[in-house]
């Protein structure tokens, strides 16, 4: 389980997070949602150990400040929003970089893992392509395959591993949005945990087990999507009046921009 307590972050003089509490359990897909500039990415960066923060972050009971970078790398992998590379690496070489962490099995096994990871993000056949020549959405999926390789087993030594995803589907077409969300869900079902920053409320409602709604550097509401996605929360957080509906089968909430007043 990932537990971030009382997180406060200042970035170049501005207080970006004000005492944020975020919990993400293994086996669950936790979605962080909120308007632009509400502190979603900063929260994720603090949890990843990437920005200095006040408060504590722990993974499976270990304070992350006490862990070495390579120990941390075996417990969580991170997908950034976008990655620019100025050297001509092939897709295969990028994906295999995720395998260089920690103790891994023999070469044939790592080869299989890298190939399976690429297949999981629906990029089989892209191994020999140059990363720079891919579209933004394809690059994002290559990076996800790389992150998957890093924690290929969702449970290692009886400890769950976590995927931290910063807007994993925002540059993808609808088919691949579903592919990636199913992949994340599958990772949870096999015992791992996922924290994903999301913009698409409907995909979030479909796939998230828990939803954390942020506003202005604070957590505004947490809970199951059914509890968080209400007319009142939409109005308070996004500042637009919208009707939240539910699908007839399954009772999954959805919201259409058409209903905005």
């Amino acid at each position: 389980m990932i537990k971030a307590s009382n997180l406060s972050v200042r970035l170049s003089g501005t207080q970006v997070l004000h005492g944020v509490n975020i919990e993400a359990a293994a086996g669950q897909l936790t979605a962080i949602v909120g308007p632009n500039g509400s502190g979603k990415t900063t929260s994720l960066k603090a949890i990843a150990g990437e920005v200095p923060y006040d408060g504590t972050v722990s993974i499976n009971g270990h304070n992350i400040k006490m862990l070495k970078p390579w120990e941390l790398a075996l417990k969580r992998a991170v997908l950034p929003q976008s990655t620019v590379i100025s050297f001509p690496f092939t897709v295969r070489e990028i994906v295999r970089m995720g395998l260089s962490v920690g103790a891994k099995a023999d070469a044939a096994d790592t080869d299989r893992i890298a190939r399976d990871a690429l297949e999981a993000v629906d990029l089989s056949g892209f191994a020999g392509r140059f990363y720079q020549e891919l579209s933004g959405g394809e690059q994002q999926r290559v990076q996800l395959a790389r992150a998957l390789c890093q924690i290929w087993e969702p449970v290692q030594h009886d400890e769950p591993a976590f995927l931290l995803l910063d807007e994993p589907v925002s540059s993808l077409d609808i088919r691949h949005q579903l592919t990636i969300m199913r992949l994340a869900k599958d990772f949870c079902e096999r015992g791992g945990g996922v924290i994903a920053i999301m913009h698409d409320l409907n995909l979030t409602a479909m796939f998230a087990d828990r939803m954390i709604m942020m506003k202005a550097g604070r957590v505004h509401a947490t809970g199951h999507p059914n509890e968080v996605m209400t007319d009142a929360v939409m109005e308070a957080v996004f500042g637009c009046t919208m009707r939240v509906n539910v699908t007839p089968a399954g009772n999954v909430p959805f919201v259409l921009p058409h209903t905005a007043a």
Binding site: A48, P69, W70, M97, S100, G128, Q150
Partner: protein, 374 residues
């Protein structure tokens, strides 16, 4: 059930045979890289031998080898004069060429990895100028200010002074060009030009202040040449260059991860700050030591890694050793040209590398203009 079949949302699953036929092996350049390194070892050895045999005094390879290995009868096949030429002139020169070439090419490759940019090069961004300044400072003010330095470091004083000059320049450059983990190419190149110019100006003032004897030392040293190669120079710069080359293999995996950005490298388990510290000190040390013994030799650090990246890709596990081998080979080759093209005089080797390297650098710029976003 294999994991891939669970993950594929549309129920598609491939047989193992079908997978084997997929082009997974394409994009794997590691075998090619290993092969190239083997070839480069052979070429470097051949070039080394050729360099020892080339020159006014004739010496066949078999005779030289037999003599160096202390075999029977070889003593008579070579004249005393030839033996002196080979042992005290050509051999140290070839060794120094190999060392300096390897050090220049590797520090170029490491710096490019550190800045995540194929255009970073110690010569181009002012690190060599900083190292020169350190050396000139020592030559001109040596007796009055740095007496204790000589006392402590002995004949290592010059390489150490050049190392300190290079280190200060590299640190300044990194501080200026890198903000929250992202390096701006334009800032890096412009700051490098400014720092290089500043170091050059201070060097100019020092030369202006120098007396006749110091001026002679400076001119002799600053020619950018392997002409003064002797065992003393190898002994003074060699250990520094060898140590900084020896740590480089341990940087390879970290530099690979660093190409995805500092944050991503940290996510992947790399101790980024330590990696950067080691890389900066190693670049400054090997550049400083090279500048101290051979003056400014440009373009090796940018051309060699670039050519290799086009053939075997940017994976530093192969790029770094291949750069060392090709850099050493090229510098020995350039030195052979330098000392045979206008006999009996010698051209400074820096002129040769500039003639070959500068047009190549322009070509890189023109070629990269379209897709590198420079």
């Amino acid at each position: 059930m294999p994991r891939s079949e669970m993950v594929m949302g549309d129920g598609r699953s491939q047989s193992f045979a079908a997978r084997l036929k997929s082009d997974w092996h394409i994009g794997d350049r590691s075998r090619l890289a290993q092969l190239l390194i083997l070839v480069l070892i052979v070429v470097a050895a051949a070039m080394f031998a050729a360099s020892i045999m080339t020159g006014a005094a004739d010496a066949s390879l078999s005779n030289v080898l037999r003599w160096l290995l202390g075999m029977e009868g070889a003593e008579q096949a070579l004249s005393v004069r030839d033996r002196i030429i080979i042992l005290d002139i050509r051999l140290p020169r070839a060794v120094l060429g190999l060392m300096v070439g390897a050090s220049l090419a590797v520090s170029g490759a490491v710096m490019q990895g550190l800045f995540r940019n194929p255009l970073a090069d110690p010569g181009l961004v002012g690190v060599s100028s900083g190292a020169s300044l350190g050396a000139v400072l020592l030559i001109v003010l040596g007796s009055s200010f740095f007496g204790p330095l000589f006392a402590i470091f002995g004949f290592y004083a010059l390489p150490v002074a050049a190392f300190v000059g290079g280190l200060i320049t590299t640190l300044l450059l990194y501080k200026i060009a890198t903000r929250s983990g992202q390096t701006s190419v334009a800032t890096m190149l412009l700051a490098g030009i400014a720092l290089g110019a500043l170091a050059g100006a201070v060097t100019g003032v020092l030369i202006f202040m120098a007396d006749d004897k110091q001026l002679r030392d400076l001119t002799f040293w600053g020619l950018g040449s392997l002409a003064g190669a002797n065992w003393m120079k190898i002994l003074s710069a060699g250990p520094i260059i060898l140590v900084s080359l020896a740590v480089v293999p341990f940087l390879a995996r970290g530099l690979n991860a660093l190409t995805l950005g500092e944050a991503a490298a940290f996510h992947m388990g790399i101790p980024v700050q330590r990696l950067k510290n080691i890389a900066i000190v190693s670049v400054a040390a090997s550049t400083g030591a090279s500048v101290a013994v051979s003056g400014g030799i440009g373009f090796v650090g940018i051309v060699v890694p670039h050519v290799l990246r086009m053939v075997i890709g940017p994976d530093h596990r192969y790029l770094l050793p291949a750069s060392a081998l090709l850099g050493g080979t090229l510098l020995i080759f350039a030195d052979m040209i330098a000392r045979t093209i206008v006999p009996p005089a010698e051209l400074p080797i820096g002129i040769i590398t500039a003639f070959a390297g500068a047009p190549f650098f322009l070509w890189i710029l023109l070629r990269g203009r379209s897709h590198m976003g420079l």
